[in-house]
Symmetry: C2
Subunit: 490 residues, 2 copies
């Protein structure tokens, strides 16, 4: 891809003067249009050292409304950032619908200049995650434009020398830059391979010959303008529903159907007390080990209203060091969250390594309440299972233990608990009109749960259906499962 | 304060068994009540090494609903955090209304264990900031409870030894801990001084003799319960308006009244082009120096609708390296932002050292639109000027250059610009019904602006009224002011 590029292309000053204002004005107008249509745009610049990424970005934004874009310069991840999944810092920088984000280096740095040596398996994992990420944002309506600024070895050397000669720019040329120039051919091979491999699925790379600044600028402007115009010419939103997307490269495990789960399991009070004490003791020890070994633990709780999520979670967190866990209650998304892909807010809530995150309701909201209530389109729903599988695969690849619980009760038990809540002063806050409304849709939810169990039960992020008509039984079963999963890992 | 404490107080097991469940249950109920009343609570634990802060927190939260609280363990600030004002990480952890935050060590660490040696002036500055912070959250309705867990030198030594003897706890005792024990008396003096100095203004410290775990736990529970009960017994919200609060220890500079500002200044097209080029060149150079010297620059833009904030900002940002600035547009606060003190969202938007933050509308919204439209109470409005003065003093103390601009036009000019926007297709998005409504309240706004100029013009964060009937004149005046302020600093 890079070797075929003609690096001698130039644009003379007269030609440039003729077009530059036109291009800048056009881009300014397009910015307003994509803003009005709430189309988000991601533009990234990769390229050789001294290929002119920074000054290119300055020219690109010179006529943009500064309220509508952000520029991010991607250096080494900070020590803090290294305690989270490596893609998190890019998810966090994803622009809201209608905004533009411009990256000076990007997630490709995680492959071409990783913060530590990666095994082949890790490298493949990162490539998968990049592909998952880019596909997901494109599906979500983002315009993704990727530039690689290319210059020859000779040109690069000339530029480094020029920078090194001047006192005020000397600091910009690092040893690593000179090394890149020395090993230019090997670097070129690996850049070329990277671009080719990551262009397959979306054709979003544009290699740009950057020997001549005017030529390169013109090419960048034209590429961005064309991409925005094409997007604006599209139908308002592609909602055509083509069926649920399968996760072809992901192995799914068999899962039960709710109607086949027998709910008559119970546990006596004495046995419960004994078991609870033993489980909490063991969990407390294991939390210490997780902390020490920097293994993150993610517990995802779903279940019928009044199935006992809160009580279950409390029994677990009682055993944990409060400095090492967080409970994240998930309610309806905020406006800012609605203006991002549905998984964005969960990326923002991930635990550090060695910490425990307990999600009280989860990213499965998209395929349950949001689908049933029509808060998302069928198209969005249809790809959510696959997006979730990939999200969880990334978490597991990072090293997290991921466990998902469906707390299951039957309709009679729910009615009993609702009524009790209604009739007990200090429990009334727990029951709302919405709970009663949801109850009316039991059948819809049952179908949704059966489908999500079938489509997202993986060995790296398994579902456990917890029989919860008996609260004591449910709590111990959940804790045992957490303990088993941790012990298995250690 | 600490020396007078009796460290021999104990509670026997029988007495403890009699009260422990009662205390836990009561606290659980109170948590629901403060949640319903949207009262936020901050509880912090300071104390000697091995005084039992961590296990105390575990007991305190054992019966709390984990969805309503967070626990933060405050270590050394990360490298990233050190690039921001030191109080920022605590502002970010401030609980939303109705939530509880528990700190294992806190902002007092910034004084007792600072990340680098502090000059006396810096130390005084930090004490001021702590006082400003605590006063502000208490005024805002937060319950603040501060514990210091106190043990004797002998007891501490005994505990360190016990920890060091066991293999699995050995890592918990650091060299710094042993040093603290060696220099116990000096440490005691400085703790005592710190507590005394920071107890003056709100009496929120509770020193706790922590030799006996049961006694200490009982004391902590009782203190928290009493504080919550007292708060709940208060009238729903103390809205009694006692007049605008003055910033007595802050020197205010004289400021003009809008009606005295002459708006007939203009600048010709040629002179403008020349000046613009020169200013942008100079600003670009200076941005480099700021970046290198790690000096943050904060530009706050306010002004009449259609006064030209956007155009003004664009001329400045065009001169800046896009990797080193951010424009922050301020709209109405989100729900989460409304559930925090009004300055919270601005703390979250501060630039790193060496970066530039341009605020397009600012924290002055509270004393303009929010006051005029009744979105805040008179009481909240009346203390906002003082809170803002202290906020800006903290920024200046951190090392930031802070400049505030009021872009001033007259009513006729605004009408002309509104009409033009209405009649120009690509500018229509810039004009809304709200703009017309605000225009009707010109007199209210003029009064609010005169008052804020009078009450918040300081030498560390000065206001500049920019005559903006002529856009060219306004842009150059603004840029010149920015350049002057930077040059003066360097």
């Amino acid at each position: 891809m890079l070797r075929e590029l003609d690096l001698e292309q130039r644009l003379d000053e007269a030609a440039w003067d003729g077009v530059s204002e036109v291009l800048k004005t056009r881009l300014g107008v397009l910015q307003q249009e994509i803003r009005a249509r709430k189309i988000p745009v991601v533009i990234l610049f990769e390229g050789w050292g001294a290929s002119g990424k920074g000054s290119m970005i300055s020219r690109l934004i010179s006529n943009l409304d500064p309220r509508g874009f952000s520029v991010y310069s991607i250096g080494m991840p900070t020590v803090e950032e290294q305690r989270f999944p490596w893609m998190r810092r890019f998810w966090q920088k994803l622009p809201a619908y209608g905004d533009i984000a411009i990256f000076d280096r990007s997630w490709y740095r995680g492959i071409s200049l990783p913060e530590r040596e990666l095994s082949k398996k890790e490298m493949r994992g990162r490539l998968d995650e990049i592909q998952d990420f880019e596909r997901q944002i494109i599906d979500d309506g983002y315009v993704l434009i990727k530039f690689f600024l290319h210059i020859s070895r000779k040109e690069q050397k000339r530029r480094f020398k020029a920078l090194a000669e001047k006192k005020i720019t000397r600091w910009r040329v690092l040893d690593a830059d000179w090394r890149q120039n020395e090993h230019y051919d090997e670097c070129l091979d690996s850049f070329d391979e990277l671009l080719t491999r990551t262009d397959e699925f979306d054709r979003s790379w544009t290699p740009v010959g950057a020997t001549d600044k005017r030529f390169a600028t013109c090419k960048v402007f034209e590429t961005v303008i064309r991409a925005l115009e094409e997007k604006l010419a599209d139908a308002p939103a592609d909602d055509s529903f083509l069926g649920v997307r399968n996760s072809e490269d992901i192995v799914l495990l068999p899962a039960p159907r709710l109607r086949d789960v027998s709910l008559d399991k119970t546990l006596g009070e004495d046995a419960y007390r004994r078991e609870l004490k033993a489980c909490q003791k063991r969990l407390s020890e294991l939390h210490n080990v997780l902390y020490h070994k920097k293994i993150p633990l993610i517990l995802a709780f779903e279940g019928w209203d009044a199935a006992g999520k809160g009580g279950n979670i409390k029994r677990i967190t009682q055993a944990l060091d409060p400095r090492g866990f967080e409970v994240i209650p998930i309610a309806a998304p905020s406006t800012l969250e609605k203006n991002h892909p549905h998984l964005w807010r969960f990326w923002n809530a991930l635990p550090k390594d060695g910490h425990v995150a307990v999600f009280d309701r989860t990213w499965y909201g998209r395929v349950m309440v949001e689908h049933i209530e029509g808060f998302c389109t069928d198209e969005q729903w249809g790809r959510a299972y696959d997006e979730i599988n990939r999200f969880e695969r990334g978490l597991a690849g990072w090293g997290a233990i991921v466990l998902k619980f469906w707390l299951h009760i039957d309709r009679d038990e729910q009615l009993k608990r609702f009524t009790e809540r209604q009739n007990t002063a200090e429990k009334q806050y727990k029951i709302t009109d919405e709970d009663w409304r949801n109850r009316e849709k039991w059948g819809d939810y049952e179908q949704a749960v059966d489908e999500l169990l079938m489509r997202t039960n993986t060995d790296y992020a398994p579902w456990l259906v917890v029989e919860s008509n008996d609260k004591r039984y449910a709590r111990i079963k959940t804790m045992r499962a957490v303990i088993d999963a941790i012990e298995q890992r250690l």
